[in-house]
C-alpha cells in the first residue's frame, strides 16, 4: 500500500511537467517556424505580411472551429469543404436573383443571400447530424456522402461557373471593411470564436459535447440527450462553416463552386495540430487558434519561399499525420 502511494505521489509532478512541455510545444514550434522562414525570406516578417497572415488565419480558425465542434464528439466533417462551395453558390445566387427581381434594394439582396447561405449550411448540418446521431451512420461515411451531395448542388446550381455580380456592398461589409483599423475578417473571427468559447465552456450544451466525446455510453447512462446534442453539434459545425463561406464569398466577390477546395483537410489539420483530439472529449478555441496560425504560417512561408505547390501538399499531409501521432503522447501525458 505504501508503495502504491509513493508512486501515486510521484506521478502528478511528472505529468504536470510533460503536460507543460506539450502545451508549450506548439507556440515554440510556431515561433521557430516563423523565424526559420524569415531567415530565408525577410518579407515573411514585414508588417504587410503579418497582417495578411492574421487575415488568412482568421478564415482558417473559423473553419477549424467548425470542425472542432464535431471532432470533440468523436466525429469529423468531410463535407465541410463542399458545404462551403454550396453555401457560396447558393448565397450568391440568392443575392443576384433578388437584385434581378427587386431592382435597387441591395440591402435586401444581401440579407437574402445571408439567409439562404446560412439556411443551406443549417440544412447540410441537419442532414449530417441526423445521419450520424439518429441513423447511426459512421461520421466518415455520412459526411463523405454529403460531401458529394454538396458538390452536386454547388455544381448544378452554378452550372459549374462562378456566379458573378455579387453586390460590392456585400464585399465591403464582410471583407474590405475594418473596425478601428482591424480588418473585418479578423473582427468577425474574433467575435465568432468568443461566442464559441463561451458556448463550449459555459453552457450545458458545450459541457455535454465534451462528455459525449469523452464517453458516449457513459453520457447516455447519465441521462444526457446525446442524440439531440450530437445533431446540434453537426448543425453548428455547418453553420459556422457557412459563416466562413459567406466571408470568403465577400472576398472573391462571386459565388464559387470550387471555393471549398482544400478546406476540409486544412480545417482538420488546424484543429488536430492545435490539440483537438480525434479520440473525442478534448479541444477548445485556444487550440484552434494556435493550430490555424501554425498551418497559415506554414503555407504562407512556403509560398513566400517559393516552395512548389505540390510539395506543400505533401508537407501539409505529413504534418497532419505527425500531429495525430503526437496526440497519442498528449493522451499519455494526461
Amino acid at each position: 500500500m505504501a508503495e502504491a502511494k509513493s508512486t501515486g505521489a510521484a506521478r502528478p509532478a511528472g505529468v504536470a511537467w510533460t503536460a507543460l512541455l506539450v502545451q508549450a510545444l506548439l507556440p515554440i514550434a510556431l515561433i521557430l517556424l516563423l523565424l526559420g522562414f524569415a531567415l530565408v525570406e525577410s518579407r515573411v516578417l514585414s508588417a504587410g505580411n503579418l497582417l495578411n497572415l492574421l487575415v488568412q488565419a482568421s478564415y482558417l480558425a473559423i473553419f477549424a472551429s467548425a470542425q472542432m465542434m464535431v471532432i470533440i464528439t468523436r466525429g469529423f466533417d468531410l463535407s465541410l469543404g463542399t458545404c462551403v462551395s454550396a453555401v457560396s453558390v447558393v448565397s450568391a445566387l440568392a443575392m443576384t436573383g433578388s437584385l434581378a427581381a427587386g431592382g435597387e434594394a441591395t440591402g435586401l439582396a444581401i440579407a437574402a443571400g445571408m439567409l439562404f447561405g446560412l439556411g443551406m449550411g443549417a440544412l447540410i448540418g441537419l442532414f449530417n447530424g441526423f445521419a450520424v446521431a439518429w441513423l447511426r451512420v459512421n461520421p466518415f461515411v455520412a459526411t463523405l456522402g454529403s460531401l458529394n451531395i454538396c458538390l452536386g448542388i454547388a455544381t448544378m446550381a452554378s452550372d459549374g461557373r462562378p456566379v458573378f455580380n455579387v453586390p460590392r456592398e456585400f464585399s465591403a461589409l464582410v471583407y474590405n471593411g475594418s473596425v478601428m483599423g482591424v480588418p473585418m475578417p479578423v473582427v468577425l473571427a474574433v467575435l465568432l470564436l468568443a461566442v464559441l468559447h463561451f458556448v463550449l465552456n459555459h453552457t450545458v450544451f458545450g459541457r455535454a459535447l465534451f462528455l459525449i466525446g469523452g464517453n458516449p455510453t457513459a453520457a447516455a447512462v447519465a441521462g444526457l440527450p446525446s442524440r439531440r446534442y450530437l445533431t446540434l453539434a453537426y448543425v453548428l459545425c455547418s453553420l459556422i462553416a457557412a459563416v466562413g463561406a459567406l466571408m470568403l464569398t465577400g472576398r472573391t466577390g462571386s459565388g464559387e463552386p470550387n471555393l471549398g477546395g482544400n478546406l476540409t483537410l486544412e480545417s482538420i489539420a488546424a484543429a488536430v495540430i492545435g490539440g483537438v483530439s480525434l479520440r473525442g472529449g478534448i479541444g477548445g478555441v485556444p487550440s484552434v487558434i494556435l493550430g490555424a496560425l501554425f498551418v497559415t504560417v506554414l503555407s504562407n512561408g512556403m509560398n513566400l519561399t517559393r516552395i512548389d505547390g505540390n510539395v506543400q501538399m505533401i508537407v501539409l499531409g505529413s504534418v497532419i499525420i505527425l500531429a495525430v501521432f503526437l496526440d497519442r503522447f498528449r493522451a499519455v501525458a494526461r
Binding site: M1, N201, T203, V204, N215, T217, V221, A222, L224, G280
Partner: protein, 501 residues
C-alpha cells in the same frame, strides 16, 4: 519446474497491477490463483499468455527466459489460455474456430477433410457434446466455453490457463470439466486455475497462490488450509470487520416491479420490490439476468411486459433522464465503458447526471462556481484522495473512480440507488468505504438495491435477498434464511429438475 516467475511487476496508468510477484508451476499440478477482483490475477495470466510484457522481473518457461513473448509465440511453445472473454469468431463454425490461425492447408488451400476429422477426434476425446458444424453464435455460453477449451487443447499444450472456467457451466458440465482436468494433470500438463469459488479450489488445487492488491500474499499447499484462512488471506481482514453493521429499518416501498419481461428474455416475469431504509440484495450466477433487471428499471434495456412503480407512481417506458428525475440512480458495473468519461476531470464526471438542476445550470448556462462548491463538498464527504476535483478521472485508481461515480448519486435528491456489482475491481479499503456509504444512505432513508456476484457481499449486507436464476426470480430470503447454502441451492435447483425432465 515448467514455469518460473520472480519479482514480476506491471503498472497501468493509475494502478500498480502487480508488485514483485513470484509464481511457479510444476508439470502435472493444478496451481490455483486466488484473490479478489482487481488483485492482479488476470494481469498475471495475461503476462504468462504473452498479452502484456512485465515491467520488471524474470519469467522462465522450461528453463528458458521469455522475452518479447507474444500471444502467438506463447501458443506455439505450448502455453494455452482460456480467458473469460472468449476468443471465438461468432459467425464461424466450431470446427473453423478450433483451427483459427493454424488451419491445415496445402499450398494455401484448406484441407477441410483433415480438419473435420481432427476436430471430431479432439471433441470426442474431451467428451464434450459439441457439434463441429454449428456456428458459434448459435451455441449456449456453456457450449462456447467448451469450444474455447477444446481450442486451447489443440496442438502441443504444456501449460493450460483456465480463467473462472465454471462461471457459465452447469453442474454436470462442471463435473465433466473436472474429470478432464484430472486427465490433463495425469498427462503432465501444468494447469493454472483462476477462481474464487471455495469448493472448486479445495477440490482441484494442489497449490494455492493468494494475491491481494497486486502483491503476493502467500503460496500454500491446498491440503490443510481452511476456507477461513483463505478468505482472511484474500481480504486481509477478518470477514466480520469487512462489512459494516447495517441497521435496516424497512419503511414504505419505493420501487415495485411486477411481472417484468425484457425484449431479449434475459428477465422473464420477475416481481420484486425495494423499501426505504433497507438493502435489498439480488444474487445469481453470471448471466442470470440480475443486472439486466435493474438496468431495465433505470431505462437501459427494452421492456416488453410488466409494470414498474416508483414511490407508488406508475413509471412506464423508463429512460435514464426520467429515472434520475424520479430519484432513481443506477451505478453501472463497468465504470470504464458505461460510467466515466476518463479524459475529463472529476468535477465534470460528478455533475454530469445533474445538469438539469438549477444548482448546476440556469437557462442552460453552467453555474460553474456553484458546481465547484457542490462537487467539492461531495468529494470531501466521500474521502476521495487527493481531493482535487480538476484531476482527470483516467489517472485515478479503481477505488477512486468508483467514488467519483457514486458521487454522482449525491448531486441530486435520490431515493432509490441501484448498485450493479459496486466493488468489482477495487481494493479492500475502497470496498469498505463503499459499504460505509451504503450504510449511510440506508440510515438516511434511501432504498438500496444491491446486485452482486460476490456472495459474501450480498449475504452480509442485504436485509432481504432475492435469488435469480435463468431470468427468473427463484427465491426471496429473509433473516436467518440468508445463508450461503440456501443461495447455492437456489442456483442449482432447476438444473436438477431440468435434468430429471
Amino acid at each position: 519446474m515448467l514455469l518460473e516467475m520472480r519479482g514480476i511487476s506491471k503498472a497501468f496508468p493509475g494502478v500498480q497491477a502487480l508488485d514483485r510477484v513470484d509464481f511457479d508451476l510444476r508439470a502435472g499440478e493444478v496451481h490455483v490463483l486466488f484473490g479478489e477482483n482487481g488483485a492482479g490475477k488476470s494481469t498475471l495470466i495475461n503476462i504468462i499468455a504473452g498479452t502484456f510484457a512485465p515491467d520488471a522481473g524474470s519469467f522462465e518457461f522450461n528453463g528458458e527466459p521469455m522475452r518479447g513473448l507474444t500471444p502467438h509465440r506463447a501458443r506455439v511453445i505450448g502455453i494455452s489460455p482460456v480467458f473469460q472473454e472468449f476468443s471465438l469468431v461468432a459467425e464461424m463454425t466450431v470446427e473453423e474456430n478450433l483451427f483459427l490461425g493454424r488451419e491445415i492447408a496445402k499450398a494455401g488451400v484448406l484441407n477441410r477433410g483433415a480438419m473435420r476429422e481432427r476436430a471430431a477426434r479432439t471433441i470426442a476425446d474431451l467428451g464434450f457434446a459439441l457439434e463441429p458444424g454449428r456456428k458459434v453464435v448459435e451455441l449456449s455460453r456453456a457450449h462456447q466455453q467448451m469450444t474455447e477449451i477444446a481450442k486451447a487443447l489443440m496442438g502441443n499444450v504444456r501449460v493450460l490457463i483456465l480463467d473462472e472456467p465454471t462461471a457459465s457451466l452447469t453442474e454436470s458440465e462442471t463435473v465433466r470439466l473436472f474429470e478432464l482436468i484430472a486427465q490433463l494433470k495425469a498427462s503432465g500438463i501444468g494447469i493454472i486455475y483462476v477462481s474464487h469459488r471455495m469448493s472448486e479450489i479445495k477440490q482441484l488445487g494442489d497449490r494455492i497462490t493468494v494475491l491481494r492488491d497486486g502483491r503476493l500474499i502467500a503460496t500454500l499447499d491446498a491440503a490443510g488450509v481452511s476456507e477461513n484462512e483463505l478468505v482472511e488471506l484474500m481480504t486481509g481482514r477478518k470477514i466480520d470487520l469487512l462489512f459494516p453493521h447495517v441497521d435496516h429499518r424497512p419503511a414504505e416501498t419505493l420501487l415495485q416491479v411486477e411481472d417484468l419481461t425484457l425484449a431479449d428474455h434475459s428477465v422473464e416475469g420477475v416481481d420484486f420490490h425495494a423499501r426505504a431504509g433497507e438493502i435489498t440484495g439480488i444474487a445469481g450466477l453470471v448471466g442470470c439476468g440480475k443486472s439486466e433487471l435493474i438496468r431495465a428499471v433505470y431505462g437501459l434495456e427494452t421492456i416488453i411486459g410488466g409494470t414498474i412503480r416508483v414511490e407508488g407512481q406508475a413509471y412506464g417506458h423508463p429512460s435514464p433522464a426520467r429515472s434520475l428525475e424520479r430519484g432513481v440512480c443506477y451505478f453501472p458495473s463497468d465504470r470504464v465503458v458505461e460510467g466515466l468519461a476518463l479524459g475529463r476531470p472529476i468535477r465534470e464526471n460528478v455533475s454530469m447526471a445533474a445538469l438539469d438542476l438549477t444548482r448546476f445550470a440556469r437557462l442552460r448556462i453552467m453555474q460553474r462556481g456553484s458546481e465547484r462548491r457542490i462537487v467539492q463538498g461531495i468529494v470531501d464527504q466521500l474521502g476521495l484522495r487527493p481531493p482535487n476535483i480538476e484531476r482527470v478521472v483516467g489517472n485515478l485508481s479503481g477505488g477512486n473512480r468508483q467514488k467519483v461515480m457514486l458521487a454522482r448519486g449525491l448531486t441530486r435528491t435520490t431515493r432509490v440507488f441501484l448498485f450493479d456489482e459496486p466493488t468489482v475491481g477495487i481494493d479492500v479499503g475502497a470496498k469498505v468505504e463503499v459499504y460505509e456509504l451504503m450504510k449511510q444512505l440506508v440510515d438516511s432513508g434511501a432504498a438500496i438495491v444491491l446486485v452482486s456476484s460476490e456472495l459474501p457481499e450480498v449475504l452480509h449486507l442485504a436485509n432481504r435477498l432475492y435469488v435469480m436464476h435463468r431470468g427468473r426470480m427463484v427465491a426471496e430470503l429473509t433473516g436467518a434464511d440468508i445463508a450461503e447454502q440456501r443461495v447455492l441451492a437456489c442456483f442449482f435447483q432447476d438444473e436438477k429438475t431440468g435434468q430429471a425432465a
